[in-house]
């Protein structure tokens, strides 16, 4: 234990751990997605490679790696190569501050929440650069869509997070989780005495998370029936593979944040079965439940229209989240104000 507690060793272990976690998740969430889609569509899904298709991600990886790296003529070579790196880096960094268990986190910094949301925006820039550098009309349209979509959805998402911040009073993710201990009725999702609209804010957060990660029904960036593969149209081989993996890594980060902020993170829903062993298990259970919901939504709904998507944000989600922000402030400060008045 003493060896493990040396700081550089710890950091190295976390680096390896997070990379492995993201890699394994990206690979096997693709399989889960395809299996889930198969189940919803009444077909078996991938079932040939390995036992029940378990080696499918390996086969896909080998296929993508063995492909020639093509940089189409006329592209901006630097940005074209930079975009896949920029899309993959933010989720990896975000995972350093997410508490998987009571003592299982790489860095327990006080502005973890801020870090995650500021890095989350880089993702947009990467997609935009990738689309722009490709010099493909479909990719450029997709890039423009990504930017306006993410600008529209970051606002309600951050408003919701501010609401939550007023309740928690801290940006330290581990502290936020610790506050939610003692049974599922203490989770932020169910704290209706602080803010009667807390479940609504969770729904807003979830919708914004879908839009931020460009998932169906908000997958404007790769609306394949309109824009082929959107911003990644010109990417092939592992360049495409990295974009693809980043999509799932972003889903992992988004669902982890939803778990931490609303569903009590590593806290047990009941007081029993908690502790350093069960904590991470609870966290993963909640996170994967959310991820499966994301997959379920994708294969059930048609895609929204682009302007409908923006209207949903500007006309519905932003007013509601502003209202919850005001309401939370009122509920928290009204007793104090009344106390001063009388």
């Amino acid at each position: 234990m003493t060896f493990l507690s040396i700081e550089p060793v710890r950091i190295l272990l976390y680096l390896v751990g997070i990379c492995a976690f993201v890699g394994a998740n990206a690979a096997y969430l693709v399989l889960a997605e395809r299996k889930g889609a198969g189940r919803i569509q009444r077909r078996p899904g991938p079932n040939e490679a390995g036992y029940a298709g378990w080696l499918q991600p390996v086969a896909d990886g080998i296929k993508l790696l063995s492909k020639q790296v093509m940089i189409p003529p006329g592209t901006d070579r630097l940005l074209f190569c930079l975009a896949p790196l920029m899309v993959m880096a933010p989720p990896l960094i975000c995972l350093t501050v997410i508490p998987f268990g009571e003592n299982l986190f790489a860095r327990n910094i006080n502005v973890g929440l801020l870090l995650v949301f500021s890095l989350g925006s880089i993702n947009v820039m990467a997609l935009m650069l990738g689309g722009w550098a490709s010099r493909n009309k479909y990719a450029v349209i997709s890039a423009a869509r990504v930017v306006s979509q993410n600008v529209a959805y970051e606002i309600p998402m951050l408003l919701v997070v501010i609401t939550l911040l007023m309740v928690t009073g801290t940006m330290n993710l581990n502290e936020i989780v610790q506050q939610q201990g003692g049974g599922f009725w203490h989770w932020n999702l169910f704290k209706v005495w602080v803010n009667p609209l807390m479940p609504v804010t969770f729904v807003i957060f979830f919708i914004c998370m879908l839009a931020e990660t460009n998932r169906a029904p908000f997958d404007m960036a790769e609306a394949e029936s309109e824009l082929l593969a959107g911003a990644f149209t010109e990417y092939g081989g592992m360049g495409f593979g990295v974009f693809f993996m980043a999509e799932y890594a972003n889903i992992v980060v988004g669902c982890s944040m939803a778990t931490v902020l609303f569903l009590g993170g590593w806290q047990s829903p009941f007081v029993i079965l908690s502790g350093p062993v069960f904590g991470p298990l609870w966290f993963l259970a909640k996170m994967y439940a959310l991820i499966l919901t994301v997959i379920w939504v994708r294969w059930t709904f048609p895609r929204t229209q682009f302007y409908g998507l923006l209207n949903l944000s500007w006309k519905i989600l932003i007013p509601i989240s502003l209202f919850t922000l005001l309401l939370t402030g009122a509920v928290m400060k009204l007793p104090l104000a009344l106390h001063h008045l009388f």
Binding site: I40, Q41, Y138, P217, S225, E226, R303, T304, Q305, F306
Partner: protein, 379 residues
């Protein structure tokens, strides 16, 4: 139609026309449903002019008709619109029967109605799945194909083919309808009704679908008249035009069925017309199964078919609208001219006017609601 992108598009666009660009959609594009190419002059995501470029799958069916005997052209007809092969064969067979004055036994006519309506349902199922794919919903097409599979199995049992049937012959059918087919069809009708209910609950009433289709892609009755659009497109514009009732053919007048008409003129109206049509087709099939007469399935046909000189027409209501065959005979054993009036061609020709000023996703959704089959356009 060789496309020449104009520097200043004709579409009304108040926003800086010099900022437009040309988006070449297709011929290999997921929304092109085959090899349709559309040259779109775009102003951002807004379409100022969308010009369809056709001819990528032209096979000279009409010219082929002039070089073959009447019977040799028969298999060609099911390859024009591969999704409603029965209707197309019906039109050609009907035209030749009308010209040669061949009597068709009633059992054959009833069997033609049953198979035609089954084909209509299978065609609409493909359209339904493909439209939902255009809208980004992946799952429905697999459900649609599950149902369609049952129809294909039934028709395969009759004529051995699953897509290009060529089941009708001059004067009747190539095989009699057997008990397997009749019982199977009865079972299918019973199974299909709850499935249509499920599609209504899960897909038609979905709020995203309604928002994507309602009020989008207006095609007025006036526009339909201008371009000759027929089928569900004109019935979605509030005109009850259906060849089965306007120019009755075969034994259709003996059945009790409604022509679904929606006056809204939008994509949703065309969607609902087709969904209702499937139910009406089930009704027709049920009635035809109940009244199917016994007897011969083939009439008397001369061994060497020579049509008397003249000009003959026969129109049917195919799944996409009015399909008409016009044959001109000069008394020889092969046609002097075969003219095919295909519904998809007319339905596509209004696309340029209808899509003006729309944004790309809506324009593609509207294209999906037109139910285009590209070989039917090019033929």
């Amino acid at each position: 139609m060789i496309a020449q992108p104009e520097a200043f598009p004709t579409g009304e666009s108040s926003r800086a026309p010099q900022e437009t660009f040309v988006l070449n959609l297709g011929p290999q594009h997921p929304a092109a449903h085959g090899v349709l190419r559309v040259l779109m002059t775009m102003d951002g995501e807004w379409i100022t002019r969308a010009e369809p470029v056709i001819g990528y799958i032209h096979r000279m069916h009409e010219k082929m008709g002039e070089n073959r005997t009447w019977a040799q052209f028969l298999p060609n007809t099911s390859r024009i619109d591969y999704l409603s092969a029965m209707h197309y064969t019906h039109a050609f067979v009907g035209a030749v029967e009308r010209a040669a004055k061949i009597e068709v036994p009633p059992r054959a006519e009833y069997a033609r109605v049953i198979t035609s309506e089954l084909n209509r349902i299978s065609s609409h199922l493909v359209w339904w799945g493909a439209l939902l794919l255009d809208l980004g919903g992946f799952t429905p097409i697999l459900y649609a194909f599950e149902d369609r599979e049952k129809i294909l199995d039934l028709l395969e049992g009759l004529c051995g083919a699953r897509l290009t049937y060529c089941y009708y012959r001059f004067g009747g059918l190539c095989n009699d309808v057997d008990d397997d087919f009749l019982n199977g069809t009865r079972k299918f009708v019973q199974e299909m009704r709850p499935r249509l209910g499920m599609y209504r609950d899960l897909v038609t009433d979905n709020i995203i679908l309604r928002k994507r289709l309602t009020g989008i892609g207006p095609i007025s009755a006036e526009m339909c008249r201008k371009y000759g659009a027929t089928g569900p497109v004109i019935r979605g514009a509030g005109v009850a035009y259906d060849v089965r009732t306007i120019e009755p053919y075969s034994v259709y007048p003996q059945f009790d069925f409604k022509i679904p008409v929606y006056p809204e003129c939008d994509s949703m109206a065309r969607y609902l017309v087709r969904m209702d049509e499937m139910e009406q087709s089930l009704r027709i099939i049920e009635q035809a199964l109940d009244r199917l007469p016994a007897g011969a399935f083939m009439g008397k046909v001369p061994r060497v078919l020579k049509l008397p000189p003249g000009d003959y027409c026969y129109a049917v209501e195919a799944a996409r609208g009015r399909f008409m065959v016009r044959i001109v005979s000069d008394g020889k054993d092969r046609p002097y001219r075969v003219k095919l009036r295909t519904p998809s061609f007319s339905n596509l020709s209004l696309y340029e006017e209808a899509s003006r000023g729309m944004i790309l996703p809506d324009a593609l959704a509207m294209m999906g609601s037109l139910d285009l089959v590209i070989p039917d356009i090019d033929r």
